[in-house]
């Protein structure tokens, strides 16, 4: 038993030693104690709903979210809007459908089963409308950036005046946390930019936190189910390990030998 503990310890040490080395080399990002981190991490429902509001009112004019459907907004573990609310949200969007029996394409109000409507028809159009920089799709953005939620949060709040020796072109902005410190996206958030219906004060930090939470959920919509199942799986394994260990002791006690 001691041996196996030693072995496990060694393995974990080697694995985490590597991550530590990796983590130390990055620029220190702004860090928040996200509610969805840790063994029992869950999304903050209110924050997700506010985050969705920030997304639709601010981000969605340029950034698509092509892998999400409106039904996801009402699903468990997400913002958990009611079905009616989600239907109402969906019906605000015009969705191109067809062809109908006459062979014509037509538009209709969105349904729950529709994917989030994209602001641009394609990547080229999106890039052309944004000075040549394509606003990345936000569905898995949090997972697609090292630093994850902290990185997104930091970039949102990282706008600053460039140092005097740095020349910044028109349409390019200085951002402390962006690799290379240059970003094509204008500063997206300002105090009071949206009006939260639940009375939360819409400060820049609050909006950044809410929208990052929303994006973290969008990238990992099954996170709560995963944490819950993981906890159960680990408890189950631990109980099984104890039982198997006792059986093993019993079986090996038949012969005089150490295990």
């Amino acid at each position: 038993m001691k041996n196996i503990l030693k072995i496990s310890f060694l393995i974990i040490l080697i694995l985490f030693g590597n991550f530590q080395v990796k983590a130390n080399e990055k620029l220190q990002l702004l860090k928040i104690d996200w509610s969805f981190k840790g063994f029992f991490g869950k999304f903050d429902r209110g924050s997700l709903q506010r985050g969705y509001q920030v997304y639709t009112e601010v981000c969605a004019s340029c950034h698509s979210m092509q892998y999400l459907s409106y039904r996801n907004l009402a699903e468990k573990g997400g913002p958990e809007f009611s079905i009616e609310q989600a239907k109402a949200i969906a019906s605000n969007f015009e969705v191109k459908d067809g062809p109908n029996n006459d062979g014509e394409m037509f538009t209709r109000p969105g349904r729950l089963s529709d994917k989030f409507v994209k602001p641009y028809a394609n990547v080229q159009e999106a890039a052309a409308s944004n000075g040549g920089a394509y606003p990345p799709d936000m569905s898995v953005l949090v997972k697609a950036r090292s630093g994850g939620a902290n990185y997104i949060y930091s970039v949102l709040l990282g706008y600053d005046d460039p140092p005097s020796d740095m020349i910044i072109d028109d349409g390019v902005y200085y951002n402390t946390y962006m690799p290379g410190n240059k970003i094509m996206m204008p500063k997206p958030l300002d105090d009071g930019l949206v009006e939260y219906s639940d009375g939360t004060e819409a400060t820049e930090e609050q909006m950044a936190k809410d929208v990052t939470t929303f994006l973290a959920w969008a990238a990992e919509p099954q996170l709560e189910a995963r944490h819950k199942m993981g906890f159960r799986a680990i408890i189950y394994l631990i109980i099984l390990i104890i039982l198997v260990y006792l059986s093993m002791k019993k079986i090996w006690s038949r012969i005089e030998s150490e295990i």
Binding site: Y67, I241, V244, M248
Partner: protein, 419 residues
């Protein structure tokens, strides 16, 4: 397999067994005499069998939902993550499963190196093992391409481009591998096909690996030949089975931690960006388990020689049974080899670390020294040690250590204090 007498009790059993001796095989597997002093490093064989089965099962399920097409692959993976029932679980088990598979295989290989399990009469087991390892690397590399993220695409580009180092025909071979003039849809579909094929080839080799093992029987921590069956052995079932299950459950605990609480930590963030031939990531790095070889590849300034060095680093392992000239198997009785063994482990870990770093400055220098040492260990140290090393006298059997040997007594005492 040794001769094994088994008489089924039922009439049908006897009728069946006379025609297809499956029951004899089962009985052989259950009674298989195993050294009783096997430690937990020996449980990784069973753990690896578990890993292979898990990869095959989750892989089959993923293949039902995955679309092997450059335009749809990335989307279909997101479909699996979002819409398929427990798709996220199956995919995370599969993705982290490959890392766990390699973790276990490295422990298994290094256990063999420590206890001299590759030495006569077990050379064939070892060589089949190396073949499995090579196939695993191929399978893992191709599997990493399938999600069609940025690292998939650029990893595939870098690795397939290695073949262009071959003189004269290199470029043509690369074009042939790609099925075009760059990594594209034809590359993806063939990688998917081959990725699907590999595990079954591995499974076949695993059966041969176990078959070859059952001829001489297991090596053991003392590394001496033992009589089978005898007081030194226990039947595989239930003694080894229960111990393997216990170790497997501990392993699953670690596995579960990765799958449920940090499923993406072993991957690269860039692979959640869809493949884009026009944008090259700042650092193209393979998965962690290939990093030591990647470091060796990059440490040589010449492309062709780099590829040769990388392949040699793997193939030199196959020659280890003949490079290690010592008659003593276990490092327990080889004080010098034991030290070089740990230096080799540190060397490989260093190679892994510099493999993840940009190939420049100090990192490159360290990579070159570590690469040099890697080959020196196998090509110089192993043969020389066999001739020069003063080994400790071996015990006569597992049950009866050498009487009055002070070194042996001290190891016994150490063992007691550990338990």
């Amino acid at each position: 397999m040794s001769d094994h007498e088994y008489n089924p009790k039922s009439k049908f059993g006897k009728w069946f067994n006379d025609r297809l001796p499956l029951l004899t095989l089962a009985s052989h597997l259950a009674d298989y005499p195993t050294p009783k002093n096997l430690n937990y490093w020996w449980t990784f064989g069973g753990i690896l069998a578990f890993c292979l089965i898990i990869q095959i099962l989750t892989g089959l399920t993923l293949a039902m939902h995955y679309i092997a097409h450059a335009d749809f692959a990335f989307e279909s993976v997101e479909h699996i993550m979002r819409d398929v029932n427990y798709g996220w679980l199956i995919r995370y088990v599969h993705a982290n499963g490959s890392s766990m598979f390699f973790l276990a295989v490295y422990i298994h290989i290094f256990r063999s190196l420590f206890y001299g399990s590759y030495k006569s009469p077990r050379e064939i087991i070892w060589i089949i093992g190396i073949m499995i390892y090579v196939l695993m690397m191929a399978a893992a590399f191709m599997g990493y391409v399938l999600p069609w993220g940025q690292m998939s695409f650029w990893g595939a580009t870098v690795i397939t481009n290695l073949f262009s180092a071959i003189p004269l025909v290199g470029e043509s071979i690369v074009t042939w591998l790609w099925g075009g003039y760059s990594v594209d849809n034809p590359t993806l579909t063939r990688f998917f096909t081959l990725h699907y094929l590999m595990p079954f080839l591995i499974l076949g080799l695993v059966i041969l690996h176990i078959w070859a093992l059952h001829v001489p029987g297991n090596n053991n921590p003392i590394g001496i030949d033992i009589k089978k069956p005898s007081k030194d052995t226990v039947p595989f079932h239930p003694y080894i089975v229960i111990k393997d299950i216990f170790a497997l459950l501990m392993f699953m605990l670690l596995f579960a931690f990765f799958v449920f609480y940090s499923p993406n930590i072993l991957g690269h963030a860039d692979n959640y960006i869809e493949a884009n031939p026009l944008v090259t990531p700042t650092h193209i790095v393979p998965e962690w388990y290939l990093l030591p070889f990647y470091a060796i590849l990059r440490s040589i300034p010449d492309k062709l020689m780099g590829v040769v060095a990388m392949l040699s680093a793997i193939l030199v392992l196959a020659a280890v049974p003949w490079l290690d000239t010592s008659k003593i198997r276990s490092a327990v009785f080889r004080p010098l080899y034991k030290q070089f063994y740990w230096i080799l482990i540190i060397d490989v870990l260093i190679l892994g670390y510099v493999g993840a770093m940009p190939a420049e400055g100090l990192y490159l220098l360290v990579a070159r020294v570590a690469t040099g040492y890697y080959f020196v260990h196998f090509l110089v140290i192993l043969p020389v040690l066999g001739a020069k090393e003063k080994t400790i006298s071996l015990p006569l059997s597992i049950s009866r250590p050498v009487l009055g040997d002070p070194l042996n007594l001290s190891t016994d005492k150490k063992k007691e204090s550990l338990n």
